[in-house]
């Protein structure tokens, strides 16, 4: 696959990150005219097939980072590229899992999963076949005709997972996808996520509050500073071997070491964010 041109002397896969944010700043303007800086001067790269987790205190701009990569929002300054192409409009080849339920309650499981291929122009017969296959893969075979309200929270997350993965995204963005689930269901879902991720190996950005979850899942954990204007504080490489069993990996010595290191970096940011929010509360109260 080597390219004769001197410009491309190294293979594309090592040259080009899947996700590339360079000195990105995002400012939101409120209707009253004042502006709020969600992230400031953030630089972050995720290689193809890499699982990157972002942790940080509330309000540090984790979710904003995801919306910039997906193309739902665009940066006020800096550069956002996916596969070497600047993000304009919705980024093609991206999957997004939301914190809250975003499967459509008025569509059955099958009709929800089928949406991606149908919107992308696949004919109905093929779309149904591939939707059924993905529903089976996330363990929901037999539930095709159910409406989301008839499913448990964990099952709805599986629908959302199938809905995103059916498009075979090269980039998967996840915004605290399992935070609404109970602890046990969450561990099971994390394991299944890793198994499904291993099949197509998209580049992942996984935003979470939970440091344990981040270390158990990711190749790389990024700690962000407290907002407003959050940015990358530190990056930690997680060298735990794969395949991993999420429920058990936390007992390993290396896991505990990593946890301590990253927590050291995260703690001060959490303290800053907490004192800011209590300040604001006290101001509002007085």
């Amino acid at each position: 696959m080597s390219n004769p041109s001197p410009l491309f002397s190294t293979p594309l896969s090592t040259r080009q990150p899947a996700i590339d944010l360079q000195n990105v700043t995002k400012r939101f303007t409120t209707p009253s005219g004042s502006s709020y800086t969600a992230i400031r001067d953030l630089t972050l790269q995720v290689a193809p097939g890499e699982f990157c987790a972002i942790v940080g205190p509330t309000g540090c701009g984790k979710s904003t980072t995801l919306t910039l990569v997906s193309g739902l929002e665009h940066p006020s300054a800096g550069k956002v590229e996916v596969h070497g192409k600047q993000v304009i409009g919705i980024t093609p080849g991206v999957g997004f899992m939301f914190q809250t339920d975003a499967v459509l309650p008025w569509k059955s499981v099958l009709d929800n999963v089928i949406m991606g291929p149908r919107f992308r122009g696949t004919d109905k017969v093929n779309a149904i076949a591939s939707a059924k296959d993905w529903i089976r893969r996330v363990g929901l075979a037999g539930f095709e005709d159910r409406f989301p309200h008839q499913l448990s929270g964990g099952m709805r997350k599986r629908v959302a997972l199938a809905q995103s993965l059916i498009n075979e995204p090269a980039v998967l963005l996840m915004d605290e996808p399992f935070s609404a689930l109970d602890v046990q269901t969450r561990a099971i879902m994390s394991n299944e996520l890793l198994e499904l991720w291993d099949v197509t190996r998209p580049a992942v950005i996984f935003v979470t509050h939970d440091l344990e979850e981040a270390i158990a899942l990711a190749d790389k954990v990024v700690v962000m500073t407290a907002g407003p204007g959050g940015t990358v504080k530190n990056t930690f490489h997680i060298d735990l071997p794969r395949p991993r069993v999420v429920q058990e990996i936390r007992f390993e010595r290396r896991f505990v070491d990593l946890y301590q290191q990253i927590w050291e970096a995260l703690r001060s940011e959490v303290d800053i964010a907490y004192s800011q929010s209590t300040h604001a509360d006290m101001k509002a109260a007085s």
């Binding site: 997906s70 739902l72 919705i90 991206v94 999957g95 997004f96 939301f98 809250t100 339920d101 975003a102 499967v103 459509l104 309650p105 008025w106 569509k107 949406m115 991606g116 919107f119 992308r120 409406f147 989301p148 309200h149 008839q150 809905q163 995103s164 498009n167």
Partner: protein, 288 residues
């Protein structure tokens, strides 16, 4: 042996609890039903007693037995302006045609303005002005412009139905969960596909709720249109009865209208359940 005994005990207990709950539910339904009948008897009986045999009061207020007689006469012998079913059909035709057109226009305009912010901003003051005028007065304009036929009534019904549906559709679009739209967009939906698959179904909870009230407005529009000038219909029948000091006739027409409205309500509820069958059923909770 020792293990089996408590299991059967628990089983019978559960059956007991379930049958007790069923019994309580049935008992409650029967009580409610008889209370409703009792209330009706008290109201109608009280009316009949107050009016008594006083001829003047009968002319002024009508009486339940007279209303019943009037209904029987109308059904058997027809009304002064033709067979009864013809009057009902005429009013229903005006109301239904206007209702369908008004609802369709309301949904279309509400969704369009809800989705296209620029249009909403341009049209907003005009809609506020149109909504603030007492639209029932437009009936006179329509009768003058379109004559005494069915068109003027249908137009009045459309005007009355439109705004309720429109405002609900518009609000419904505004209330759509942003995450649903973001999710569908990332899955590859175009703006039109987002409207069709996400916005419209979501807004329907609001739109369908407005249909109950709107059908009431449709009947009012048809009746008032007939009052203002026409040849037939229940409104004409009421005007006729009023002109001949027949209070019983006015009440009898009102009873018929009530029945029509209840039947329509039944069908709208069916439609509602069909369209919104994806919603979780209401669970019983503590009454607070």
């Amino acid at each position: 042996m020792t293990a089996a005994a408590p299991v059967t005990a628990v089983g019978t207990q559960e059956a007991d609890i379930a049958s007790a709950a069923r019994l309580r539910l049935r008992h409650r339904r029967v009580t409610v039903f008889f209370s409703q009948i009792g209330l009706l008897i008290v109201l109608l009986g009280g009316w009949q007693l107050v009016v008594g045999a006083d001829q003047l009061k009968i002319v002024l207020y009508g009486e339940p037995s007279g209303i019943f007689d009037q209904l029987v006469t109308w059904f058997r012998d027809g009304t002064a302006i033709g067979p009864l079913w013809q009057q009902i059909a005429a009013t229903l035709e005006e109301a239904l045609i206007g209702f369908v057109i008004g609802t369709a226009l309301g949904i279309f305009s509400g969704i369009t303005l809800g989705r296209i912010r620029f249009l909403a901003e341009v049209f907003s003051p005009y809609i506020k002005v149109l909504n603030s005028i007492p639209r029932i007065v437009l009936g006179s304009v329509f009768v003058l412009a379109l004559g005494l036929g069915i068109e003027s009534k249908i137009l009045l019904v459309i005007v009355l139905v439109f705004f309720g549906v429109f405002f609900n559709a518009f609000q419904g679009v505004r209330e759509v969960d942003r995450n649903f739209i973001a999710n569908a967009t990332i899955l590859g939906a175009s703006r039109w596909e987002v409207t069709w698959h996400v916005v419209l179904p979501s807004a329907f909870t609001w739109i369908v709720a407005s249909l109950h009230v709107s059908f009431g407005f449709a009947l009012i529009g048809a009746i008032v249109g007939e009052f203002l000038g026409g040849y037939q219909g229940l409104g004409e029948l009421i005007k006729n009865a009023q002109g001949t000091f027949n209070a019983n006739g006015v009440w009898a027409a009102m009873v018929i209208l009530g029945v029509v409205a209840l039947i329509a309500e039944f069908f709208i509820t069916r439609l509602e359940n069909r369209l919104l069958r994806w919603r979780p059923p209401q669970l019983s909770g503590p009454e607070l």
